[in-house]
């Protein structure tokens, strides 16, 4: 198997209101095509871990290797580019840019990365929207869509640069059960069909139970690495 993410003894401190370790010696690996969920109680550090993994939070001790690249020692600008290329995000609240159309929202990260021409990016974006079943909304303003539709557009955006890993922070946390089901099926399908690596943080036990592997956290430590289903 092909390891795409590896952490070694990651420790992170919060200094406000007083210094305490929010992550303690976190070490684990994720392999290509895995659909992993990180679970735990509120305040156990699971979201903090996700933002460390996402390279947006670089204030930690230990090593993080993504797709064979050690992210330590990279400048903020290099990291921004790295994120654009390798990581796709799905957040709890959809976080689309409300003034832009859905199509533009999906296209913008790719335009920023500048790997393809504008026409190619447009075609690819339409393909992704098609895949997520929201193609008919492509030309609508993002703010005009329902929550479930917006989350699907957000997943399309996360996919636009063919990222190494998709990271979800409670991707279904703000959705009703029908839409949760739809979003979950989409993620599962991506993982099965395209061998897309997915890491999500969730407190939805039902959701977690259906993923390939559950990493359980408590008080900043991993207490269970779960069983690899796809092995």
């Amino acid at each position: 198997m092909n390891t795409v993410l590896q952490t070694q003894t990651i420790t992170k401190y919060f200094h406000e209101p007083e210094t305490f370790a929010v992550l303690k010696d976190v070490s684990f690996e994720v392999e290509k095509g895995e659909f992993v969920s990180i679970v735990g109680k509120s305040g156990c550090g699971k979201s903090t871990l996700l933002y460390v993994l996402s390279t947006m939070d670089t204030d930690f001790e230990g090593a993080l290797t993504l797709n064979g690249t050690d992210i330590h020692g990279k400048t903020q600008d290099e990291l921004a580019r790295f994120r654009g290329e390798h990581i796709g995000f799905v957040f709890q609240f959809h976080y689309l840019l409300p003034e832009f159309t859905c199509l533009e929202n999906v296209m913008i990260p790719a335009l920023k990365l500048g790997k393809y021409s504008r026409e190619e990016i447009r075609d690819r974006a339409l393909q992704k929207l098609d895949l997520l079943g929201v193609r008919e909304h492509a030309e609508k303003r993002a703010s005009k869509l329902s929550g479930g539709q917006q989350q699907r557009v957000a997943i399309a955006r996360a996919l636009i640069n063919d990222p190494t890993i998709i990271m979800g922070d409670e991707p279904t946390g703000n959705l009703d059960s029908t839409n949760t089901r739809i979003v979950f099926d989409i993620l599962k399908d991506l993982s099965r069909t395209f061998h897309q690596t997915i890491i999500t943080v969730t407190h939805d036990q039902e959701f977690a139970a259906m993923t390939d592997r559950i990493i359980e956290m408590q008080d900043g430590r991993i207490i269970s690495h779960g069983n690899r289903l796809s092995a």
Partner: protein, 417 residues
């Protein structure tokens, strides 16, 4: 870059009201600047022109002060002062005439930088008409030369300037003076000098410069006539007025002429230092007022940009999460400031220019003496260039701090709430 522009554009278009308010702030500042600078420099220019119409670029004359020298004793022993001596002598009575005046005049006419020369002799006189006796002065000039320098013909109110050439003992009288004397063209008046000479002259024309201090006291006669009144020999002149091809060279050329001919030579800037100073002060005031306007507009933009960026925290976080660098974010928001500044300033130029044009069409009437009929307004392209540069510059400055703040936003803080 295209991406940055289209994002900036989308942001601006999404909040049209806010964008327009920000733009109008700049528009108002720049518009007022263009209007005020046009009117103020227009008036300054008009005043400079009318001042220069009666001022030679370089005036050469014998100066009383230049002939007063300190005694050797005073010079060498001033510090010790143990010797009794006459300190601080009274001025000597010197001849005001310029030696070899006419030769200097013809020499100056061949000077490559000189555009015109007019020799003159002037004297204090009394004008007697009926029982009235008025104090004034008379200038003996070669009227054709004088006209070349000071456009005498253009200021004639009654009669003809050329009559001075054909009439023996003719006189062109200041309009204000003629009014006081109740004299008209064709009348004869008697002139007496402080030295006792007198002569009867015929008024052939009257002139008005717009400057009461001149119009109420001055008359022109031919050089020969004045020489006769003063009982001087032909060739006696007291002043040489010199106009240069470029008036801005006056400060440089005046000392050269003084050194060459040994006569006091004064350039127009030195002669009118106080007036020029008032122009400078007025210009400074304009810039102060305009800068204030623009600073206010700048704060408006700063406010609106800050608000926009606070509104867009989430968007900035998501953009950073999807591959935008801090620099990209700064560019996107700076572009918005530049666009607002550029369009605001351009609109300001148009509005300011139109207002200035409107002002320039307002008829004004300052009485018969002033040659002004419309409000003087200056349409200098440099002002417009300065306006747009300043407008865009101020908005850039106002947009920079909020944009930098936007660039520094930590996406994790925002996304985690």
């Amino acid at each position: 870059m295209n991406l940055h522009i289209s994002i900036a554009k989308t942001h601006l278009l999404a909040k049209k009201k806010q964008t327009i308010t920000a733009m109008l702030g700049v528009t108002f500042g720049i518009g007022m600047f263009i209007l005020m600078i046009g009117v103020i420099t227009g008036v300054n220019e008009y005043l400079t022109d009318s001042m220069l119409e009666s001022t030679a670029h370089v005036r050469m004359y014998n100066d009383l002060a230049s002939s007063n020298r300190t005694s050797i004793i005073e010079e060498t022993l001033l510090s010790t002062l143990e010797v009794a001596s006459t300190l601080h002598q009274k001025p000597k009575n010197i001849k005001l005439s310029i030696r070899n005046g006419m030769q200097i005049v013809s020499d100056l006419k061949n000077h490559p930088e000189v555009a015109g020369v007019s020799p003159q002799l002037s004297s204090q006189v009394f004008y007697n008409y009926g029982p009235v006796q008025l104090n004034g002065n008379i200038a003996g000039v070669n009227i054709v030369d004088e006209d070349n320098l000071f456009d005498v013909a253009g200021k004639i109110k009654a009669g003809r300037m050329e009559s001075l050439l054909t009439t023996g003992n003719g006189l062109i009288m200041g309009a204000g003076l003629a009014k006081k004397l109740n004299a008209q063209v064709g009348d004869r008046i008697t002139i007496t000098t402080p030295f006792g000479g007198s002569m009867t002259l015929k008024i052939v024309a009257t002139f008005a410069t717009g400057n009461v201090q001149i119009d109420n006291v001055k008359s022109y006669a031919s050089i020969g006539t004045v020489q006769k009144i003063l009982q001087r020999d032909p060739g006696y002149i007291t002043t040489i007025s010199v106009n240069l091809k470029d008036m801005n060279d006056a400060k440089k050329i005046a000392p050269e002429l003084q050194a060459k001919y040994g006569i006091k030579s004064e350039d127009w800037e030195t002669a009118n230092a106080v007036i020029l100073q008032s122009f400078v002060i007025r210009n400074i005031m304009t810039y102060v007022i305009v800068t204030t306007l623009l600073v206010v507009a700048g704060f408006g933009i700063y406010n609106i940009m800050s608000m926009t960026i606070n509104d867009k925290m989430k968007d900035i976080a998501i953009m950073k999460a999807t591959g935008f660098t801090a620099r990209d974010i700064v560019i996107v928001f700076m572009l918005q400031a530049v666009i607002v500044g550029f369009f605001g300033a351009s609109l300001g130029l148009m509005i300011g220019g139109s207002l200035a044009y409107w002002v320039s069409t307002i008829p004004v009437d300052f009485g018969e003496f002033a040659s002004m009929t419309r409000f003087p307004v200056n349409f200098d392209p440099m002002h417009y260039l300065f306006g747009i540069i300043f407008g865009v510059g101020a908005t850039c400055l106002a947009g920079f701090l909020p944009s930098r703040k936007a660039g520094k936003i930590d996406p994790v803080d925002i996304i985690r709430g």
